[in-house]
């Protein structure tokens, strides 16, 4: 048998790593802009596409899919080739993977600021982009599995199992959560409604964190930490237990998003128990990573790569202890909707994903350009500035989370809320938002220092070229187990079998979660007073979606005394049956809006959208002045209603044929009420009646007011006295 000569594809790795740096800086910059808008809400006054609600999904998508996504592909493609002693299966697929992914990112960067969004968190992109994501992801999967099949190493190293689980699970999650009926090329409605949509979305949301931000990075940890420390992983046995139990349990832990909800109490508790059990494999992995450094702690002092790794793995440990704790009901009652969640995700994002990515970049790029790092000193500066940034980011978020949640729940002896005005609980935590912005700035400065350092390194180095290697081809062995071969070693040399088994393992948990989800639909009791939205309200709801109001306002009142007193009757499943998509939200930067309808006059809403600080002094809500002038686009109103009918919303044929007339009538009524305000009428009458003039009734604000005045009103006041839990 002869040695085979082949070349590792380094150029594709280089492309992904450079893209990681560029998109990382972009994503962090948008994050910093958003953090600053908590302090100066009208920083981007009047610029629609730079408004908070539209930029927030841009930030999350940029850091998750552009920064971390590119790092994931780069790291996987580098390690996969070397662990398998084979060039990537197809150069064309590699290129489709790279350029396709960048195109998707650019499409996201254009559509999200334009308000083109499905509004489902971390899955905001509209359906054509969703399809592109599926195609590129499958290209990545075929490329990976093809490489595995052409390998020259018998056994698959543990990192590769994590990569396989990542590919399979993300594909399943993405497809099921993105199912939607299109209205046009850039607008669709989720096939699920209300409760069901929420359940599918959080099954996705929870597991996207697991299988996009966690498993691939654990694979990278199992490869790059031993390489950087120059010693094998602490315990290979532990890594096997880590892998199988992690992918098994993670999918089950979804029910912790159903607290104060769905399942019977003891079943909920078991959902929590699974989340708590998740600590074991997570910490098993963390310990395995950290103990790999045993005996080389002296190197950690001098080597920035190892420093970044230590903080990354510690961050992983912190986030994975915190997550299960937050899934305990009593803690969840405080953490949910508060800044605590923001602190939690940034420990994961900044420390675990961010620092592991930085470590990988500092280790890999000098090797690719065949030189040493330009400045170890600068890398150390980056490490300290970044670490300080994480601390200054996370601690204020914990403080503000606890503070605000406690203020929300505080009662006077007479049973009224101490902080009945939501705004009081916001102004209290502004200093924390200042500190968070400073922390974020430091983190970004660190990343810029890295960018400079790596740029200089690349300039000093050589051109990145494909690397020559030689290895013996793999001898054919029976596909059956050979004499004396144990099961796992056999499985490790049967990649397709391993993939199928991993898929089964993740599907078990997925199916148990999804079956009750699908059955919910037939089990939601109809509330006779709940009717479909009027055409104008439907359009108003789409403006609410476009402007990303859901980023800061929930529509989900939990059965706590503090929430019922503040907002009104708690949410019922039957209220949301026509909500494609659901808009429950996950964060209350402003108050819950579920029972907003009828609370204020139409003119209050108009003034509030035009200048929030005029109606609510000290508010940190940005102004939405364009809504007062933009003409409402009713071109697709009827089409929207037809799509809703396909989704099961009972609009009659008459409803649809009279749709535009109904819309116009309701708009005229609202416009007339708005003009009763003399001050506004005066300003309106002074507007120049030129060709661009749009009558008030035809403006977007009218539709939005129609929707906001409808919110929560279907549930009649004749409700039984509330049972609440505190």
């Amino acid at each position: 048998m002869e040695l085979e000569r082949y070349y590792y594809d380094n150029k594709i790795v280089k492309n992904f790593l450079y893209a990681t740096i560029v998109w990382g800086v972009v994503g962090m910059l948008v994050g910093l802009l958003l953090a600053t808008m908590f302090l100066f809400p009208n920083l981007t006054y009047g610029i629609e596409w730079l408004s908070f609600g539209r930029l927030r999904p841009l930030h999350t998508n940029a850091v998750i899919f552009a920064f971390i996504g590119n790092a994931l592909f780069g790291g996987v493609y580098y390690s996969l080739q070397r662990l398998l002693k084979a060039r990537l299966y197809s150069d064309i697929l590699s290129k489709i993977n790279f350029w396709g992914w960048q195109l998707i990112i650019v499409a996201a960067a254009i559509t999200l600021p334009l308000g083109i969004t499905s509004s489902k968190e971390y899955a905001e992109l509209e359906w054509p982009i969703d399809i592109a994501i599926a195609v590129v992801w499958v290209a990545f999967g075929i490329n990976m599995i093809g490489t595995i099949l052409r390998r020259r190493v018998r056994s698959l190293y543990v990192a590769i199992w994590f990569y396989i689980a990542t590919f399979v699970t993300v594909a399943v999650l993405h497809i099921f959560n993105s199912l939607a009926f299109p209205v046009s090329w850039l607008k669709s409605y989720s096939v699920y409604a209300g409760v069901q949509d929420a359940l599918v979305q959080w099954w996705y949301g929870h597991n996207a964190v697991a299988f996009f931000l966690t498993t691939p990075f654990l694979g990278l940890m199992y490869y790059f930490v031993p390489k950087a420390a120059e010693r094998p992983i602490y315990s290979y046995r532990l890594s096997i237990v880590h892998f199988w139990s992690l992918i098994f349990i993670y999918i089950w832990a979804g029910p912790h998003h159903l607290l104060y909800s769905a399942l019977p109490g003891w079943a909920q508790s078991l959902g929590v128990a699974f989340s708590v059990m998740l600590i074991a494999p997570s910490w098993g992995g963390m310990i395995n990573g950290l103990l790999t450094l045993r005996g080389v702690w002296d190197k950690v002092v001098s080597d920035p790569v190892l420093k970044f790794m230590v903080v990354a793995i510690t961050g992983y440990g912190m986030a994975t202890l915190e997550g299960p704790l937050m899934s305990l009901k009593n803690i969840n009652a405080i953490a949910h909707f508060s800044d605590w969640v923001i602190g939690h995700v940034h420990i994961g994002g900044l420390a675990w994903n961010g620092f592991l990515t930085f470590a990988m970049l500092y280790w890999l790029i000098p090797r690719l350009v065949k030189t040493t790092i330009y400045s170890v000193k600068l890398a150390n500066v980056h490490f300290w500035v970044g670490t300080l940034g994480i601390v200054l980011y996370a601690i204020p978020m914990y403080v503000s989370g606890f503070t605000q949640a406690a203020m929300w729940k505080q009662f006077n002896p007479d049973g009224t809320l101490v902080y009945g005005n939501f705004l009081e609980t916001v102004t209290q935590i502004i200093p924390m938002y200042w500190m968070r912005a400073i922390g974020g700035t430091l983190y970004l400065v660190g990343a810029l220092i890295m960018g400079y350092n790596l740029y200089k390194t690349i300039r000093n180095g050589q051109r990145v070229e494909d690397e020559e290697a030689t290895a013996m081809p793999l001898q054919k062995v029976s596909s059956k187990r050979v004499a004396g071969e144990k099961y796992h070693p056999w499985l490790e040399r049967r990649p397709v079998r391993l993939t199928i088994l991993a898929t089964l393992v993740i599907l078990i948990g997925g199916v148990v979660q999804i079956i009750p989800t699908l059955m919910v639909k037939s089990n939601i009791p109809t509330i006779s007073s709940v009717n479909p939205y009027t055409p104008l309200e439907l359009e108003g709801r789409d403006i609410y979606i476009r402007e990303g109001c859901v980023s800061c306002h929930s529509q989900m009142i939990r059965p706590f005394r503090s929430e019922v007193v503040r907002y009104g009757p708690y949410s019922r499943a039957g209220e949301f049956v026509y909500d494609h998509p659901f808009l429950w939200g996950s964060k209350r930067t402003g108050p819950d809006l579920l029972r907003l309808g009828g609370k204020y006059a139409d003119s209050w809403h108009l003034n509030h959208m035009y200048d929030p600080q005029s109606t609510s002094p000290g508010s940190i809500m940005p102004a939405y002045p364009w809504l007062l002038f933009n003409a409402l686009d009713t071109e697709r109103t009827l089409k929207k209603m037809e799509v809703m009918v396909d989704l099961g919303v009972p609009y009659s044929e008459d409803d649809i044929s009279n749709g535009l007339a109904t819309l116009d009538k309701q708009a005229q009524e609202i416009a007339a009420r708005l003009l009763e305000d003399p001050q506004f009428a005066d300003a309106y009458n002074k507007e120049e009646r030129n060709t661009e003039f749009v009558p008030l009734k035809d403006r977007e604000i009218v539709a939005l007011i129609a929707y906001m005045q409808r919110l929560g009103t279907d549930l009649s006041n004749a409700l039984e006295p509330e049972k609440t839990e505190e």
Binding site: L83, P232, Y236, S245, A267, S571
Partner: protein
């Protein structure tokens, strides 16, 4: 969150089987996994954990 769906999932016939089944399944899975891993030969483990250094 999701308070309101409680009774609806509860109406699924035999929904209580799900969590019990889940717990037994995982416990069995985990015990099997640990037993399995302990069967590995030391020499084999050594070979496997050194794969990243053989390039």
């Amino acid at each position: 969150m999701l308070q309101h769906t409680k009774e609806h999932l509860a109406t699924i016939e035999g929904v209580g089987v799900y969590p019990i089944f889940s717990l037994l399944l995982f416990t069995g899975f985990f015990i099997g996994l640990v037993w399995w891993v302990l069967q590995f030969k030391k020499s084999n483990i050594k070979k496997l954990k050194n794969i990243p250094f053989d390039d």
